[in-house]
């Protein structure tokens, strides 16, 4: 190792460690706060060392896991009540809605990306046009969506003789999440599918496979890691979505970001402890998921902008 190289290694690790600190600091603080009692959430100087500066407690976790909702900043214990919501309910709803919408979005988007890649479906500009969807700030559509969702049941009654509710239902939110993530699915999958040689498909089709079989047996397996990456990406987007859920769901359907917003206390303000606890809890699954597919991640995010 030459001295210059050595110097570079030192420089590299210094910079990277610095950023590691920047990244871990807020997360660490959140985890720490989740173990603090209310008096320690906000205090000057800040309380750092567990058992020395503050007495760790599971109160926050007990609160979120048993009941949901919130209480005074002082006394946290509360009898278990028949709450419409708790973290389990929100977690269930989030998982169902986000999983279904992400998977459906992935399938629809991938198939369309295939068609675009192979036949220029929708014309040369289609991928760019579809990107417009992503530009719409959700607040722009949230209110019309509410009116629309409110009048859809009537429309359905009139059309098919059955009342179909959209407001505050699983599929209402699911459908919206599908649409809002489609642009990214199409873009990312287009990049992956463009890289699959057409001859592979030609070969399959000459050997007797139908187009659908070809896609299923040849194309999709080849872009599997790309699909995993795309799925993770739209999963994260949907998992985090706040504004549409806030406007168009509750009380029957409740997602985690919306639940988080409920942890408010006396007159107005935040229950940092339970918020930190729930934040810690909802972050873990996504981080684990990301960790599991980490090695695929690198492949996916150049959006096909570089051709090998």
């Amino acid at each position: 190792m030459t001295p210059r190289r050595h110097l570079f290694t030192v420089f590299r690790h210094t910079v990277l460690l610095l950023w590691t600190l920047v990244v871990l600091f807020p997360i660490g603080w959140m985890v720490m706060t989740s173990f603090k009692d209310s008096g320690d959430w906000v205090s000057w100087p800040a309380r750092w060392v567990p058992f020395v500066d503050f007495e760790p407690t599971l109160l926050n976790y007990r609160q979120i896991f048993y009941f949901g909702g919130s209480t005074d900043t002082g006394a946290l214990r509360r009898e278990q009540t028949e709450q419409a919501y708790n973290i389990w309910k929100a977690a269930f709803d989030s998982v169902v809605i986000v999983t279904v919408s992400s998977v459906v979005s992935l399938l629809l988007g991938s198939t369309l990306a295939y068609a675009i890649s192979r036949f220029r479906t929708g014309g040369k500009n289609y991928p760019y046009t579809i990107l417009t969807i992503r530009m719409l700030p959700p607040i722009v559509v949230a209110i019309p969506m509410l009116i629309y969702f409110a009048s859809l049941p009537e429309a359905f009654t009139w059309l098919v003789g059955r009342r179909v509710e959209f407001f505050d239902t699983y599929y209402g939110l699911t459908l919206l999440y599908i649409v809002t993530t489609l642009p990214y699915v199409i873009w990312m999958m287009l990049a992956f599918i463009d890289e699959v040689p057409r001859e592979l498909e030609h070969a399959a089709r000459l050997m007797g496979a139908s187009r659908l079989t070809t896609i299923r047996k040849v194309v999709f397996p080849l872009v599997a890691s790309g699909m995993a990456v795309t799925l993770l990406f739209v999963f994260i987007l949907n998992w985090s979505e706040f504004l549409l859920a806030l406007t168009l769901s509750q009380p029957k359907v409740l997602t985690l970001p919306v639940l988080l917003n409920k942890f408010q206390s006396a007159v107005e303000g935040r229950l940092y402890g339970p918020q930190a606890a729930i934040g810690t809890v909802v972050t873990i699954p996504v981080v684990v998921l990301g960790f599991l597919i980490q090695k695929h991640l690198v492949k996916g995010f150049s959006f096909g902008m570089i051709r090998r």
Binding site: P197, E199, L200, H202, A203, A204, R205, L206, M207, G208, A209, S210, T213, K217, V218, P221, L222, A224
Partner: protein, 358 residues
């Protein structure tokens, strides 16, 4: 087993015409090679036969069926691609088994058939490997195995040997020829390599600019080219072309260019017209006298058994002659040269069409 017939195939992509009216009859069991420079429309034609692309107009027949609108999978074809198109995500076995499984053959039968075919193309030891780990030749065989496993009536091959090294390519040529003989199926082979065309084809179809230039047996195409393009395309080194003027008075034809003058016996009376004379290097002879013309040796390329001689002869470019290696020559020597008269061909300078074809 079936023949293939193309009837006035036209294919346009937007404004570009890739194939402009190709009609062709390919007999059952024939080995036909489409040859031409890249962009000549040969691969498009092949894809149209395969059904991977549909013609803008014209019809495709396989056997007795008009298959123009049929899907590829219904045409009973086998195809080997330039890139071989082995599925990288599954093993060699699964690659070979793929078409059988698509046809919903029972697993036991699949295994049996795959093993049998693997044995014929000598890839039995590779069955558990993934394509990515194979050598070029091995991959080639696997691709063949995957194609023949369903016993198609017609084999389509799109430059399958282009990724192999020279030696392997020559070996595979022989092997393909043997395979053709043993299968008795119709082979349609696309290449830009004239050597492959010459060595393997029963008939060669020369394509250029979306049109068929000439169809014929290899030697016929080589020796009796239909136009200047075909003449120039075959042969290494290429045919010599000399622009000049030709006229005939009934007794003799006279070709005249600044550097070369030739008199040929016979022929009909002919008004003077610009032509291009074509003569292959092996038909150029060097002499001690100056019966044809005089030239200076500018470069020598020994090939071993023969030597290529580049001559400054006073015309544009150099004249290439292929002479026996024994001939004692040195750069700077001045020699006379003549052409084998019976092998000289003439093309219309403007159209490139052959004239005075006997």
């Amino acid at each position: 087993m079936s023949g293939v017939r193309l009837d006035a195939i036209v294919k346009t992509f937007g404004k570009t015409e890739a194939v402009r009216g190709v009609s062709l009859d390919i007999a059952d069991g024939e080995f036909v090679v489409f040859v031409g420079p890249s962009g000549c429309g040969k691969t498009t034609t092949l894809n149209i036969i395969a059904g991977l692309e549909s013609p803008t107009s014209g019809q495709v027949y396989i056997g007795a069926d008009r298959v123009t609108d049929w899907e590829p999978r219904d045409r009973n074809l086998g195809m080997v691609f330039q890139s071989l198109a082995l599925f990288p995500h599954v093993t060699v076995f699964d690659n070979i088994a793929f078409p059988l499984r698509i046809k919903r053959m029972r697993a036991a039968a699949v295994a049996e058939r795959v093993r049998a075919v693997a044995a014929t193309v000598k890839v039995s030891h590779l069955l558990d490997k993934k394509p990515g780990t194979l050598s070029g030749g091995e991959a080639q065989r696997v691709a063949l195995a995957r194609t023949i496993v369903v016993q198609p009536a017609v084999f389509l091959m799109d430059e399958p040997l282009s990724s192999l090294d020279a030696k392997l390519r020559v070996e595979m040529r022989t092997e393909l020829k043997r395979l053709h003989a043993s299968l008795g199926a119709t082979f349609i082979y696309v290449t830009h390599d004239q050597a492959e065309a010459m060595t393997m084809a029963d008939r060669i179809v020369v394509m250029h600019l979306g049109q068929v230039q000439q169809v014929g047996a290899p030697l016929a195409v080589y020796g009796d080219p239909a136009n200047r393009f075909v003449a120039g395309f075959f042969g290494v080194p290429a045919m010599n072309f000399i622009d000049g003027e030709l006229r005939g008075d009934g007794d003799a034809l006279v070709f005249e260019s600044p550097a070369v003058r030739l008199e040929l016996k016979g022929g009909e009376p002919l008004a003077a017209r610009p032509v291009t004379l074509g003569v292959r290097p092996e038909h150029v002879r060097l002499t001690r006298d100056a019966s044809g013309g005089r030239a200076t040796v500018s470069l020598l390329e020994p090939l071993g058994d023969e030597t290529l001689v580049f001559l400054e002869y006073g015309g544009a470019g150099s004249l290439v002659a292929k002479v026996d290696a024994e001939e004692a020559l040195a750069v700077g020597d001045r020699r006379g040269f003549t052409f084998r008269r019976d092998r000289i061909v003439f093309f219309d300078t403007e159209t490139g069409e052959r004239i005075l074809r006997s």
